[in-house]
């Protein structure tokens, strides 16, 4: 069977369908909606997961992030410490040990933060003062908008300088001209040396930075504010001694990320009696998100697939009716010399044309729906090119699968019986 012949069969089938335009239209409607919903659902699923993936990848796939956390039940005997002082979290020694003894670690960034009231002229803002090293800016990697980031020089000169975020500057009613100006952070005058763009924090993924950050060299912070922070809790004030709130760890290669994460866990467990830290592995999150995305797509796709199935059943129904209606035609074709296989092929081509046309209309509709969703609700959508190919092929496949039974019925007819049919 040549391609040219298939094409002629398709043309004949199309012609036959045009005799019953309304019927053909109604028949394909099921496929139209099936294909459209497959594309739309996959687009919504892909949109959501792409956003998550983007956020995770912004954390840096080669980075590990350690957080200090308050142990769930403070089992430490109160006798050794003042009952007012909570002592927990990551230590300076932890950072050192990770840098020195964990294979694959390129560098580590210690981070300490505290909430501080900040004044610029008559504007007040509560900032999170992030005390860190210049490497922070390499690992977190946010675009510099004005001035400069922290340097090694800042670490040694120990002058109170800070880098603001775009958001912080705006909240202080300042633009880039604030670079070089003095702001008061916790009653200490800091000179602003630069502004970085902050990440719009959206979604479930926690980034190491916040829009309200102000970055300052770690030695400066320790010198000016000490190691004990006062946290206001409901009603009372509590004292905390948390040396480091965060340690960022950069790993040499992607392959070494997971072994390094395991090694760090093992090591920290040896030195920490309590679970007062948490390790976040963006790469693992990335993998997880990838798996979730796949499951999500399969679930959504299957739901949409069911509507395609319903469309297929509609086609089968019509084709069965058509076989009965065209019994005599089948008899004539057989008398002329058509083989059974010719009759099967004719019906299969007709159903595929029918479902293929439904598929094309569904494709157009399916590409419009995600656009509308994004336009109206702001939900991110993304139409992966493969989903177009997939849903269209499925629609044609459905035509073939559901056309097969009617086609076989048609071919099974006895030519003489068929010719006698009215």
């Amino acid at each position: 069977m040549t391609a040219a012949r298939l094409l002629r069969l398709a043309r004949m089938g199309l012609k036959d369908m045009l005799r019953h335009k309304m019927r053909a239209f109604l028949t394909t409607l099921g496929v139209v909606f099936g294909v459209a919903s497959v594309i739309a659902m996959l687009a919504v699923g892909e949109g959501a997961s792409r956003q998550a993936l983007l956020q995770i990848s912004r954390l840096g796939a080669r980075n590990l992030i350690l957080y200090s956390q308050k142990p769930a039940a403070d089992t430490q005997p109160a006798a050794s410490q003042s009952s007012m002082l909570a002592l927990y979290g990551l230590q300076y020694e932890d950072e050192l040990r990770i840098r020195e003894s964990i294979p694959g670690v390129v560098r580590t960034v210690p981070v300490r933060w505290m909430r501080k009231e900040t004044w610029y002229r008559d504007r007040k803002l509560e900032l999170r003062l992030v005390a860190t090293t210049p490497d922070w800016f390499d690992l977190v990697n946010r675009p510099l908008l004005a001035g400069r980031v922290l340097t090694a020089d800042d670490m040694t000169r120990r002058e109170p300088v800070c880098v603001l975020t775009e958001y912080g500057a705006r909240r202080l009613l300042a633009g880039t001209e604030i670079v070089g100006e003095i702001v008061s952070i916790g009653n200490v005058p800091f000179r602003v040396v630069g502004i970085v763009r902050n990440e719009e924090s959206a979604g479930a993924v926690q980034t190491p930075d916040l829009p309200t950050d102000a970055y300052t060299p770690l030695p400066v912070c320790r010198e000016r504010f000490g190691d004990i922070t006062v946290v206001a809790e409901t009603g009372s004030r509590a004292m905390e001694l948390v040396p480091l709130h965060q340690i960022l760890v950069e790993i040499r290669s992607l392959e070494e990320v997971e072994p390094a994460a395991r090694a760090i866990e093992t090591m920290l467990r040896r030195f920490h009696k309590r679970e007062d830290y948490r390790l976040s592995v963006p790469l693992a999150l990335l993998r997880e998100a990838e798996t979730t995305r796949r499951t999500f797509n399969i679930v959504l796709g299957s739901i949409a697939g069911i509507s395609l199935l319903v469309g297929g059943i509609g086609i089968m129904n019509i084709m069965l009716a058509s076989v009965t209606e065209r019994t005599r035609e089948i008899g004539i074709r057989r008398a002329i010399g058509a083989r059974r296989s010719h009759i099967i092929l004719q019906f299969l081509v007709e159903t595929s044309v029918l479902s293929g046309i439904g598929g094309i209309i569904g494709l157009a509709l399916g590409m419009m729906i995600p656009l509308l969703i994004t336009r109206l609700s702001g939900m991110p959508t993304y139409i992966p090119p493969w989903s177009l190919l997939l849903s269209f092929s499925i629609s044609v496949l459905i035509g073939i699968v559901f056309g097969l039974y009617p086609a076989l019925q048609a071919a099974r007819l006895d030519p003489i019986e068929a010719l006698r049919h009215e």
Binding site: I336, R339, I416
Partner: protein
Amino acid sequence: MTDTVIRLESVVKIYRIGTVDVPALRGISLEFLRGSFTAIMGPSGSGKSTLLNVIGCLDRPTSGRYFLEGRDVAGLDDNARSDLRLHHLGFVFQSFNLIPQLTVLENVELPLFYQDIPPTESRQRALEMLEMVGLSDRTHHRPVELSGGQQQRAAIARALTTNPSFILADEPTGNLDSATGQQIMELLANLHQRGRTIVMVTHEPDIAAWAKRRVLMRDGLVHAIQDSIP
């Protein structure tokens, strides 16, 4: 020129309706020569159409042997019989049996489509056939837009496009008035003149008169054979 091209030996055809056997042919032995023009006559229900369908490889005999151009075709499978119909046999029916949604031209082209003839060639051949039957001005009409005589001429054109050696006609004038019937018979007589072997079923004596030989059937048996003196 006088070789036997169709030979039936004790052909029996029994239809089974539920548990009842209906014998339509009860032992037919007949021979047809190449280029002959035979009319099969007999009362309704005598088995004329069944015989024609067996000859035309549309139906298989229940028992007996059937040789078409020396080849035993009684036991051939469905595909082989389809191919014989496609390449060697042309059918003309009482009710024309054109496919309603196709144009006259497409109907005439249809056998060539199944023969895998390229479109340009098949179009050419179909147009030639339509010219021969005098329907050149009706090629793009639908069958319903044609008179009965025109439809039957289109059906004859379709039977002829594959250039078959045999034309099998089952009451070709049965649905036509006598004047139109005469035109159709002229066409068939013309084909006979050009060497085609024609087997025609009819119960009208004046139609049968066009044939050179008449086979009379009764109750699924050959009752008598009349040869016209040439």
